[in-house]
């Protein structure tokens, strides 16, 4: 057990609700289980510690109507959700890296207010829910992260990579934690300590004030744990190390030595507070309190995706192109996708079937729950309610003498929940940023993508952006709904280099597969001039590059992903058209300045579908 991990467990156990929780990024395994066991032993024996599976529904999470009890009692009986049940304890969120932002927002509001506002199924309650969360994050790569809004509300970001180390560490006993829980309310904190923590947070480039607040609370907990009644410097140091350091987005300006275990990235890649971090002479305290010369203008999460090279900054070309892409284009693609999905390919058939029983509930309809459809208890009861008196009086007397059911529900009362059939669509933009494209049309292609983005925004779809140049393709933007982020990632896209078209299509296929596994429908929009010159193995040469690209395209087609290829070369090329055919994509030439003809072309394409 690493020293910091044990410390975090103890601090968290002292003040679970106040500290929000722990984001525990670790593979499933002994180290993680050991830590959870430790936490369990440190928490009071009677405090609940519940596990929450991924995709827990609102009823289970927040509460709702208790069907069994309601039917038995003949009046509505509320079922408290996990959040309310865990009041005063800890919830362990499994696979939190796959949590939706919606679920994260539900947890977030409970963490903020310490209570559950239950406004569901005719129930109107406010339930106490002072909980701390342990978010288990098994993300394999940098793309898989906790939702930022949740990570923000958890004081500790703990990372356990390697195997558990057997090292003597200051361990605390449950009694000590219990004593600290009593004491933590009385711990005094000097204004200078607050000042120091805030200065440290600023020097590390931590924007959110929650980090400073958590650090202050962690310092209190540390003091309480050590049996002190005032927060001392060492407690602040612990708080800064455990709460602030993992959130750092930049190195403090001075002194230069600290935090030398590599540049701590922003919150999307929290640097683990490891052993050498614990040896730090509390750098934040010594950091100059004033802000560095330039105010932080960019959000932290864009910093890594762009990683702008000074020279490349000059390459940023965001000349808005007037390439008008009609608003309906993506919608027509969607139709194409639906049509294609009907073809009996194994993968997509499964996805469609699943969609019918999941997704966003859109009310209820009359009908019996069969073939996996979910009964809507509330609507069923509502339908039965007005008839109760009549039905009871109509019951045969013999049956009534045996046992009168509290509620007589008949077959015609049954309602099932309807879900929205159409899954969410995620459009993957694959942008050619190679030299040949950059010269000709990169700026315009960006403009075109932005117009398409605006179109996606109107339909509340997600977008992802993949760019390719030089020898590789990289995901500039994982699927998101934020137009602002998409725009920024495009704006920072430099141009130049070769055209690794095969890589790009492979990347798009991989991303499309990921999206499909999430139950969403991918659409690939490829903007390129079709002049591939880098083969899959990274070697230059038009011939092998083109054949590799065609092979990759065939694979994409086999996946049944609907696609659009926008030809960005000044004169439409047959190579791009061949590629489109191989991908099974709609082909669209984007002739220079010919917005009008483009318009007509798209109408023609849309009409054909």
């Amino acid at each position: 057990m690493q020293g910091d991990a044990a410390t975090i467990a103890a601090l968290f156990a002292v003040d679970p609700a106040g500290l929000g929780g722990v984001a525990l990024r670790a593979p499933a395994g002994a180290a993680r289980d050991e830590w959870l066991t430790l936490l369990r032993t440190l928490l009071p024996a009677d405090s609940p510690m519940r596990r929450v599976p991924l995709n827990t529904g609102d009823t289970a999470l927040l509460g709702g109507l208790d069907l069994g009890a309601t039917l038995q009692a003949g009046r509505p009986v509320a079922l408290h959700g996990l959040l309310a049940q865990a009041d005063g304890g800890v919830l362990v969120l499994a696979m939190a890296e796959r949590m939706t932002v919606g679920a994260a927002a539900r947890f977030g509001s409970v963490l903020d207010s310490g209570q559950v506002l239950l406004q569901r199924d005719g129930l109107d309650r406010v339930l106490p829910a002072r909980v701390g969360l342990v978010a288990l994050d098994e993300g394999a790569d940098a793309d898989e992260q906790l939702p930022a809004s949740l990570a923000e509300r958890l004081a500790f970001h703990l990372r356990m990579d390697g195997p558990a180390e057997d090292e003597e560490s200051p361990a605390w006993s449950a009694q000590e934690v219990q004593a600290a829980r009593q004491r933590v309310g009385q711990v005094q904190m000097a204004p200078a300590s607050v000042q120091a923590l805030c200065a440290a947070a600023m020097a590390l480039g931590i924007d959110s004030l929650r980090a400073s607040l958590f650090a202050a609370r962690a310092a209190r907990a540390a003091a309480a744990l050590a049996g002190c009644n005032t927060v001392e410097e060492e407690h602040i140091a612990v708080a800064a190390r455990l709460v602030l350091a993992p959130r750092a987005t930049r190195l403090p300006p001075a002194p230069p030595e600290p935090l030398d275990e590599g540049p701590p990235e922003e919150e999307t890649a929290p640097e683990p507070p490891t052993q050498n971090a614990s040896e730090l002479p509390d750098p934040p305290l010594e950091a100059p309190p004033e802000a560095p010369d330039d105010p932080k203008t960019e959000d932290s999460d864009e910093a890594d995706s762009l990683a702008p090279d000074p020279q490349e900054l000059a390459e940023r070309v965001l000349e808005a192109a007037q390439a008008a892409i009609p608003a309906g284009l993506l919608a027509s693609l969607k139709i194409g996708a639906l049509q294609r999905a009907k073809s009996p390919t194994s993968g997509s058939a499964g996805a469609e079937q699943k969609n019918a029983l999941r997704g966003r509930p859109v009310g209820a309809r009359k009908g019996e729950p069969r073939a996996g459809q979910r009964i809507n208890v509330l609507e069923t009861l509502r339908a039965a309610a007005p008839w109760q008196r009549l039905r009871r009086s109509a019951l045969p007397p013999a049956a009534a003498s045996v046992r009168t059911p509290r509620i007589v529900v008949r077959k015609e009362d049954f309602h099932v929940t309807r879900f929205r059939q159409l899954g969410q669509t995620t459009t993957v933009f694959v942008v050619d940023a190679s030299g040949s494209s950059a010269l000709n049309r990169l700026a315009e292609a960006k403009g075109a993508v932005e117009l398409l983005l605006a179109d996606c925004y109107v339909r509340r779809d997600s977008v992802a952006v993949l760019a390719f140049r030089g020898k590789t393709a990289e995901t500039l933007l994982p699927p998101t709904r934020s137009l602002a982020r998409a725009k920024r990632s495009l704006a920072g896209l430099p141009g130049g280099g070769g055209t690794p078209l095969a890589h790009a299509i492979d990347g798009a296929a991989a991303l499309a597969g990921q999206i499909r596994r999430k139950g969403e429908t991918p659409i690939v929009v490829l903007l390129t001039d079709g002049k591939a010159n880098i083969a899959r193995d990274g070697s230059p040469g038009r011939g092998p590059a083109a054949s590799d690209a065609l092979a990759a395209a065939a694979q994409l087609r086999a996946m049944g992903v609907s696609a659009l290829l926008v030809d960005t070369s000044p004169q439409p090329q047959s190579s791009a058209e061949h590629l489109a055919a191989a991908m099974g994509a709609q082909y669209l030439a984007l002739p220079y300045g010919g917005a009008q003809s483009l318009n007509q072309a798209v109408r023609a394409v849309a009409g054909r579908n």
Binding site: L61, L62, P76, C198, A199, L209, L213, E290, A291
Partner: protein, 342 residues
Amino acid sequence: MALTFPFSAIVGQDDMKLAIVLTAIDPTIGGVLVFGDRGTGKSTAVRALAALLPKMRAVKGCRYGCDPDAARCPDCLAATSGKARASELVGVPVVDLPLGATEDRVVGALDLERALSQGVKAFEPGLLARANRGYLYIDEVNLLEDHLVDLLIDVAASGENVVEREGLSVRHPARFVLIGSGNPEEGELRPQLLDRFGLSVEVKTPSTLEERVEVVKRRDAFEQDPQAFTEQWKKEDDKVRKGIVAGRKRLGDVHIPDSARSFAAQLCMSLGTDGLRGDLTLVRATRALAAWQGDKSVTQVHLQRVAPSALRHRLRRNPLDDAGSSTRVERALAELASAPQK
């Protein structure tokens, strides 16, 4: 009820506080949309509102909080037979619409309890009814389910909630100030919903160390001893409350010269805002600002202060313009101000 962090103890965030105060002075301005960084006290400010607002007079026991002088809810209409109903002072409702809420609780539905136990078909009002004459607050408004957004868009515009479900047919007043907060990184709002917000403010994390320290200090003090902290800030809160009451009184007397109206219209035209709502909101917000500051007449200074809030979310989204909406409003303001007045 748990104590909320006092409104006046919020450090900085003047735009947000001003917008909230203005809608308290003149609820017809519409709602407030607060978008911005995480951890900037968005929700704190809204939740502080309930404690801040002066009490209002309402029909006693009315589930819709009807104004005794204009009771229009089904209960009051059924009960009134000439004689006036007793009234009482109640706090202005600030109703939270949580993300997991179901439609039946938002709009109201058949009262299941009474239906099951007594076989009576009765209407159980929802959150929209409770928010009548007050505030409806949606945290993370950009994550609200689409079908709830549809409901809100309709009700927020008409001020009336029409329920047609389970054999019930009810319509009741639902006039509320919509307050939404969120983080634009997590998704954006539909233009129709955006339009329902009168003012929009962008909040940023305080950038100076002093401010940040002050925020943490106050928050820490509040969490250690909420009661004492609230007591300590009571005077300041009272001051704001009195200002709101005075502002409401003065509101009707504020003169709006034609020059100000035409300035507002020109500004909207040069920005190309959709519809006239922007124009109208701008004038109303300006008048409320003048009333708040105790000025008799609306001046260009007032206009310039509120124009960004009133207009920035109404600009037609231009994916090709990188300048933020606020910048565009300010640019247009500067151009107009320098141009000779006609």
